[in-house]
Amino acid sequence: MSDNKKNLNINKKALKEKNKTLKREETRLKKEKKVLRKKEKQKIKQEKKLNDKFLAKKQKEDKFLIKQKIKEEKVKKAHLNKIAQAKYVDWFKLDNAATIYPSIKDDNWSFVVRASVLLKEQVNPEVLQQAVNDTMPRFPTFNVRLRKGIFWNYFEINNMPIKVEKETKFPCSTFNLFNFKGHIVRVLYYNNRISVECFHAISDLRAETKFFNSLLRRYFNLLGANIESSEGCLEILDLPRKEESEDAFFKYCDKSKKIKHKEEKAHKIQGTLLENGVVNATLGTMSTSKIKELAKQYNATVGEYLSAVVGYSVWKLNKNHKRPIKLSIPVDLRRFFPSATLRNFSGYVNVEIKPKQGDYTFEEILEIIKEEYKRINEKYLKGFINSNVTIQKNFFIKIVPLVIKNLIIKLCFKAWGEAYQTINISNIGFINCPKEFSNYIEKYMVNLGRPKYNAKTIGIVSFDDKLCITVSSKVKEMNLEEEIFKFLASQNLEVLIETNRRDIYGQ
C-alpha cells in the first residue's frame, strides 16, 4: 500500500511539475507572442510611417509637377493668346498663284490639296482638337476666310476655332469658299489617320506639310512625347514672322526676260467619269531605299525615275494618239529663291513625250525627263515668275471688276489652264520632320484630289523607308494605276496597294 501511495505521490509530483513546466511554457509563449505582436505592431507602425512619408513625398512631388505643368500650360496659353491677339495682319491679298483658284471653282469642285499621316496608334480626337487650337494662331495665313472685294478676292483672319472632324467625305472634297464661318482648312481623322486638307489658294503642298508637321509635333507632345527637335516644323510659341506671309512671287519678280509658252495642247486620258465630287484614290507604298537603288542603276534621281515610270505607263496606254503626252511637274521655288513664305511659291515644268515619233523604251523616256529636269534652273524659273506677275501688275487688269475677272479667268483656265497637261505629278520628296516622328508615324501621304479637266493626278512623298504614291482619279478606269504599280512590282519591289473605295473593293 505504502509503495502504491509512494508511487501516487511521485506521479502527483511529476504531474505538478509537468503542469508547472507547461504553465511556464505557456507564459513564455504568451510573452513571446506579446513581444511578436509588439514587434509586428511596431513594424506596421514603422511601415505606416514610411508609407505615409513616401505618400506624402509623392503627393508633394505630384502636386509640384501638376503645379509646374499648370504653370507651363498657363504660360503657353498666355503666349498663344498673345499670338492670337497680336493681329499682325487683319487681312491680306491673295498671292500671285492663288488669284485664279477662287475664280475657277464650281459648285462641286475647288482645288484642294491634302497631306495625311498614318499613325502607329489610333488618333485621339480630343487631343488633336487641343493641338489644332494651339497651332492655328501661329499660322495666320492658314487661319483665314476668303472674302470678295470689288476688284479682287482677299483673305481675312478668321478667329473662329477649327473643329476637328471625323472623315466622312471623299478626299479633297470642295469647300464652301465664301461661307461666312468658313475656314478653308480642315483637319480630319479616321482610325489611325490624320489629314489636313486646304484650299490651294492658301498655300502649296510644301508649306502645308510644314503646318502639318507643327500640328503633329504639338499633338505628340500633348500625348506625353517629348519632341524637342523642330526640324521641318515651326515652333508654335514663337510669334508669326512677316516673311511667312509674304507674296514671294512679287519679291522675286523683276523686269528681266519672261518665258513665252508656245506649246501644243496635251493629250487627255479618256475614261468613264465618276459622279461629281467622287474621287478614287489608289495608294501604293514601297521601300524608299530600294527605289533609290533602282534610280541609281539608271543614273537618275528618285523624282526623275518615278516621273519616267508614270510617263512610260501613260505612253504605253496612249501610243496611238496624235497629241503629245505632257507630264506637269511642280517645282518648289524655295529651292532656288530663298523664302520663308507659307503661301504659294511653286512653279512647274511640262515634260513632253510625243507618241507621233514612234515607240519609246523606258530608258528613252527617262532620258527625256532627265533633259527636262536640267531645264529647271534659276533663269528659267525667274522667267516663269516674271511672266505670271506682269499680268497681275497690269493696271487695266487691276481695275476690272471681280465679276468680269472671274469670268475671264474661268474661260482662260478652260482654254489654257490644264490644256497643256496630261497628268500632274507632285513629288514632295523626303519629308523633313523631327526624327522622333518615326516612333509614332507609319507613313506620310499626299493627295491632289480630283482634277478639274484632267483625269488623274499623282502625289508622291517619302518618310522613313516608305515611299507612298497616291493616284487620284475622276474616271472609273484604273488601267494607268495598274500599269504604274505593275511596272514597279516587276522591278522586284514589294508594293502595298490600298484604296479609298472600300465600298467597292472591300465588301
Binding site: K166, F485, I497
Partner: protein, 232 residues
C-alpha cells in the same frame, strides 16, 4: 500584311477583297472576310454627293421651264408676253431661295441681297405691266420696291444687333443699298413726278440713318471694310 495579287504582282491591303488595280479576288477562301484596319478609309456618306445632284436637277428644271415658256409664248403668241413673268419670277426664286443652298451660305445673311433682288424684280414687273397693259405705274416702283428695301434694312439691322459677327456681310450690302436708294431718290425727283415721293424718301431716310448708326457703332470697321473691298 496583305494578300498578293497574282495578276499584278502587288500586295493588296488586308481590308480589301479585290485588287483595286485589276479587280481580281485576292482572299484565299471564298468565305474569308476582310475587316476594317487602322489604315482603312471610311465608307463614304454619299448624301452630300446626291445633294449637289438634286440642286443641279432643280436648276436644270427651272431653266427648262424658262426656255419652254418662252418657246410656247413665242409659238402661240396672242398679244400677251406672259413668259416675261416666268423669267423674272424664276430668276428671283433661284437667287433668293436656291442659290444660298448652292453656295452653302445662310439665308439670313443674304437678307439685304434678297431684298434687293425682290425690289428689282418688282420694278421690272411694274414697268412691264405698264408697257404691256398700259396700267399706271405705281404698286411696284412707288410702294413695293422701297418698302421691301426698308424691310430688308430693318431686318438685317435687328440681326446685326442680335447675331454675333453679322456685320461681315451686313455692312457691304447695306452700303450698296444706301447708294442705290440715293440714286433711286434722285431719279424719282426727275422722273414719274406725278406720283407720291414719300415711300422713296422714307427709304432714303432709313438707309442713310442705318449708315450713320453703323458709322457711330463701328466706324473703324466700316472704313476698313471699304478699304479691303476696294483694294486693287
Amino acid at each position: 500584311m496583305g494578300n498578293k495579287c497574282k495578276n499584278c504582282g502587288v500586295i493588296v491591303s488586308e481590308d480589301l477583297k479585290y485588287c483595286p488595280l485589276c479587280g481580281k479576288f485576292v482572299l484565299k477562301n471564298e468565305k474569308d472576310k476582310c475587316e476594317e484596319k487602322g489604315n482603312s478609309f471610311p465608307i463614304y456618306d454619299m448624301f452630300y454627293i446626291y445633294k449637289e445632284k438634286w440642286l443641279k436637277i432643280v436648276r436644270a428644271f427651272l431653266l427648262l421651264a424658262v426656255v419652254l415658256s418662252i418657246a410656247i409664248n413665242a409659238f402661240f403668241y396672242r398679244g400677251v408676253l406672259w413668259s416675261v413673268y416666268v423669267v423674272i419670277g424664276t430668276l428671283a426664286l433661284w437667287l433668293v431661295v436656291f442659290s444660298p443652298f448652292n453656295e452653302g451660305t445662310n439665308h439670313l445673311r443674304r437678307i439685304p441681297f434678297s431684298s434687293l433682288v425682290i425690289a428689282i424684280s418688282v420694278i421690272l414687273l411694274d414697268f412691264f405691266n405698264h408697257y404691256q397693259f398700259n396700267t399706271p405705274i405705281g404698286w411696284g416702283v412707288i410702294y413695293t420696291a422701297p418698302f421691301v428695301l426698308v424691310l430688308g434694312i430693318v431686318l438685317s439691322f435687328i440681326l446685326f444687333l442680335v447675331l454675333k459677327n453679322y456685320d461681315l456681310n451686313y455692312m457691304k450690302s447695306n452700303i450698296l443699298i444706301m447708294i442705290i436708294s440715293i440714286i433711286y431718290f434722285i431719279l424719282r425727283l426727275f422722273l414719274l413726278t406725278n406720283y407720291v415721293l414719300w415711300p422713296t424718301f422714307a427709304l432714303l431716310i432709313v438707309s442713310v440713318t442705318n449708315f450713320i448708326v453703323l458709322m457711330i457703332l463701328k466706324k473703324k470697321r466700316v472704313i476698313e471694310e471699304i478699304n479691303r473691298s476696294f483694294h486693287i
